[in-house]
Symmetry: C2
Subunit: 261 residues, 2 copies
Amino acid sequence: MTLVPAADPAAARASFRAGLAVPSSGWAPGRTQANLVVLPRDWAWDMLLFGQRNPQPVPLLDVTDAGSYRTVLAPDADLRTDLPRYRVWRDGALVDEPTDVADLWTDDLVAFLIGCSFSFETALLDAGVPVRNIEQGRNVSMYRTNRECRPAGRLSGPLVVSMRPVPGHLVATAVQVTARMPAVHGAPVHVGSPAALGIADLARPDFGDAVEFADGDVPVFWACGVTPQAALMASRPPFAITHAPGHMFVTDVPDAVYRQP
Amino acid sequence: MTLVPAADPAAARASFRAGLAVPSSGWAPGRTQANLVVLPRDWAWDMLLFGQRNPQPVPLLDVTDAGSYRTVLAPDADLRTDLPRYRVWRDGALVDEPTDVADLWTDDLVAFLIGCSFSFETALLDAGVPVRNIEQGRNVSMYRTNRECRPAGRLSGPLVVSMRPVPGHLVATAVQVTARMPAVHGAPVHVGSPAALGIADLARPDFGDAVEFADGDVPVFWACGVTPQAALMASRPPFAITHAPGHMFVTDVPDAVYRQP
């Protein structure tokens, strides 16, 4: 039997809630998917301030009240059960990858839902810009850069970028399309020179897969949602929950809501 | 001797630091001016979350580290001395309006700098949209509405709007110009019907002055920076400092930085 991804976001979440643990790409197409970071209240101030100060890598779509597992992005969802897979961290170390975190949720926890580049990849494709990592069936290439984020409390670290090869004549289109989507990382932070960002070799990404260039492709770099996770894990909070890579939270919000006119 | 407002933002701040206590309108034209709210750390989480959840009335331009009186918006400025006049609040009551708060500043305080509509009024004028309150030498009209902000912790309250009469054929221009400035309240929240917002009589604003309409003017309503101040004072924090009305913080940042392409 072939698994058919649900088109309806509530149906997608119901499948994941029932225990289905697959990457969320392709589920509820056209609906925004979000990264999840859950922290004790003591650390939530640092994270919220880090997001305020670094909106390109950390576009906060919603932040819950302490203890709440509800979000305005999908009012009937339960953040403790509705992601396909979670990661549980203690003192900065990964300790578990469960499909449900209801037994770990306490009144002290604050959840951050963060925009992700899935939304703008759809917009690029809609505008006729090829997305090489999708064509090649690979994860996008991600790199630590020589640019530091603005620190906030215990959180600091380099800007992490994702890179997509874009045909030279479509770079302007890619800039215009993504500039209109600041809630999902916005315009590129750099076009052209990996060395200017301190990236020695595009073929050796720090996260994700190497992606092949076609003739005439130019490397285009966007701020990446790995940035806050890397800063957070480096600072070793006593406890944290995140989504497992690729296993995002499916919201009810149409991608178009985050596209500016 | 006539007082000539300084064109240079550092010179403007130096005048205010020296004790000059005049409204900041007209000083350092073209540079962004900001509202100031200073709170004990215990209340800062609520305020930061209120801003994240209500970005139109609460566009946060910068948030300081606890105890710091420095901001990236003007690296050589001192937030304790460089505003022309402050207000000091205890348990929600106004207790003083000094020109300097250095003696009140403690390591427990967090400062919020919030975008203000001065920036978009300049943009409207540049685009040929008349600004009636400026023409008439009055403060803008502001009203409480029947729309509730999304609460955050102890902070809740109605959306407060500013209203400007705009000639009908220029409403589209006014929308387009301000939509490109989300850091200073962005696009209007409503055009046309005061009743739809629960406003009984435009001639009786809740804050500011009544402003006269010219023939063919339509009321246009924008989210207003009084919103967070009203929510804050209603919740009676033990201590707060704000700017005095009209006596804003002059930043180094050109208004153009907050205009999207």
